[in-house]
């Protein structure tokens, strides 16, 4: 199997730096997602690995061999594209067999392999259908089978689910993960959908403005963001700018808050306190809440309330500060109404801190 190493990879388009000295290793059999907003450089990175672009600086290494200048047709990488890319003049089976035909495999081997792969993606009965006779989800399944037919060293997925509706997207996401795990193929997956990246990947690499912000497992990326961008981009995060006042305490808009994560920081340091909405509790003003030593964060009125199935999202504002978002179990939130005067609190142990002085 194969290890991919992106070493100080840089790509410029004229004056625009699309990718800035990116270093990332994708280990053998691992599924790594490149996650970021539009224009962050994730697709550029994928195209550099595929060979459709030449790097301005740095190298792409496959098992230690520099392939930066090898044309895409010689890299033996399977790719599934965002746009439907099946050849309209060929049936599903012919599409899957295309790479094998190019490699001049015998028709016997070709038809056996095509059958296996269409079976694997659950489309054996659609072998004779043309792309326009297939739904979007089916087309992307055939595209996946086509990419896998040539037994690629690396599988590259460029937002293959973005054109599909939510239900099909969820199903195909699970299917991609099942097949990838089954084959143990090294995979690079590009997406702007954080939920998709967190659900699917062994590790996630978050990009912003052509720079790698953080690489980590989904729980690390979600629970321990290392930069303000990651904290803001992944999930919903309450961000409180504060100053350290003493061991375990900060001051935010004149209010003293307990934050365990600032125990080792010196007084006067500017910090960003990050609290996930699910760590925020709502109670009557002045209540301690569940008997734990909580810190008052904001006392104010409920200004927003959205039912989201298992949780209800509540926004609390005192008028001056940024609204605090809390995700409450829906069964506990039914009595809360817009305009209610409440206190939003969090556990000092559940807050993460980033320094603003650096």
């Amino acid at each position: 199997m194969t290890t991919v190493l992106l070493e100080n990879l840089t790509k410029s388009f004229g004056e625009v730096r699309a990718l800035e000295s990116m270093t990332l290793e994708i280990r053998d059999g691992e599924l790594v997602s490149l996650l970021g907003p539009s224009g962050c450089g994730k697709t550029t990175a994928l195209r550099l690995v595929a060979g459709f672009e030449r790097p301005t600086g740095g190298r792409v290494l496959l098992d230690g061999n520099d392939v930066s200048t090898v044309p895409p047709s010689k890299r033996n990488m399977g790719m599934v594209f965002q746009a439907y890319s099946l050849f309209p003049n060929m049936t599903a089976a012919e599409n899957v067999g295309f790479g094998l035909r190019v490699r001049k495999e015998s028709s016997e081997k070709r038809s056996r392999r095509v059958g296996e792969l269409l079976e694997m993606v659950g489309l054996a009965e659609a072998a004779g259908r043309y792309p326009h006779q297939l739904s979007g989800g089916m087309q992307q399944r055939v595209a996946l089978a086509r990419a896998l037919a040539v037994e690629p060293r690396v599988l590259l997925l460029d937002e293959p689910l973005s054109a599909l509706d939510a239900k099909v997207r969820g199903q195909l996401r699970e299917e991609i993960r099942r097949i990838q795990t089954e084959l143990g193929i090294t995979t690079l997956f590009v997406t702007h959908d954080q939920e998709e990246a967190l659900a699917l990947s062994d590790r996630v690499a978050v990009l912003s403005n052509g720079r790698l912000e953080q690489v980590g497992t989904p729980p690390e990326i979600y629970g321990e963001p290392e930069t303000p961008f990651v904290a803001q981009f992944i999930g919903t995060m309450n961000r409180l700018e504060a100053t350290v006042t003493g061991p375990g305490h900060v001051e935010h808009e004149g209010r003293r808050l307990g934050v365990d994560a600032v125990r080792d920081r010196s007084a006067g340091e500017k910090v960003l306190v990050l609290v996930r909405p699910e760590s925020v509790e709502i109670s009557e003003p002045g209540e301690a809440g569940n008997g734990h030593p909580r810190n008052g964060m904001v006392e104010g009125r409920i200004v927003g309330r959205s039912f989201m199935g298992p949780v209800t999202r509540v926004k609390v504002s005192n008028g001056a500060a940024e609204a605090i978002t809390a995700d409450l179990p829906s069964r506990n939130a039914h009595s809360l109404k817009i305009g209610d005067h409440v206190s939003a609190r969090f556990d000092p142990a559940n807050a993460r801190v980033l320094s603003l002085d650096e």
Partner: protein
Amino acid sequence: MKSAKKLSLTKIAWLSIGVLYFLVPLLATLQFSLQEGREGYGFGAYTYILTDPLFRQSLLFSFLLALATIVVSMLLLVPTVYWVRLKMPRLRPVLDFVSIMPFVVPPIVLVVGLLTLYQGAPSWFVATPAILLCGYVIHALPYVYRSVDAGMEAINIHTLTEAAQSLGAGWGTVLLRVIVPNLRVALLSGSFLTLTIILGEYTMASLMLFNSFAVYIAYVGQSQANPAAALTLISFAITWAAMLGLLAVTRRGSRGGAEVQAQIGGAR
């Protein structure tokens, strides 16, 4: 209801005027082509034309030249348009401009230019239909270019090319097995248009002294009145057959094209 009825009557009236405008001259030509002597009618003029060896020779000459024009134009334009769209999109306005030049430059000027340009060229070139072929390729350029360009617009050539490359295909395979088969309708449209235009092209063939079909029509028209009318209708039928072929192909293709468009549109 009343206004709808009025509108429909207006439509019928305009349609009738249009039909009469086209049919009356044709019917008059048909009547004249069938006239034999003062009061009799027959197919003498048609028999004369269809048995005239010059008719078959000139038609075959123009037909073969049209086929050669189609082949050369396609070989020249398909890879060019593909490459420009794929790798040099900034050159597209230049191609667009060049492609309409034959509309701007009159054929007579084109012939003079060609003859001056190829003065001193070997006789196997200037004394054979090869020189006429050069002129015809330029003459057909706007039609072939528009057809090929529209065909490439309808398919996502970037993604299809990259998909084929990632599966190990080289440029030749990409072009011949992926791009060209998906341009079938566009290429057929361009071919039919070229065929029709070349069958009716007179100026270049006449000035370069070739006996093309259009030159034969002009010759018969100047010398024999009734066969000229019959020939007009025969050439009209040939042109219409080509146009109907084009229509049939385009209709069939527009369904396929819509499907391709829907696929690409759905992905965005």
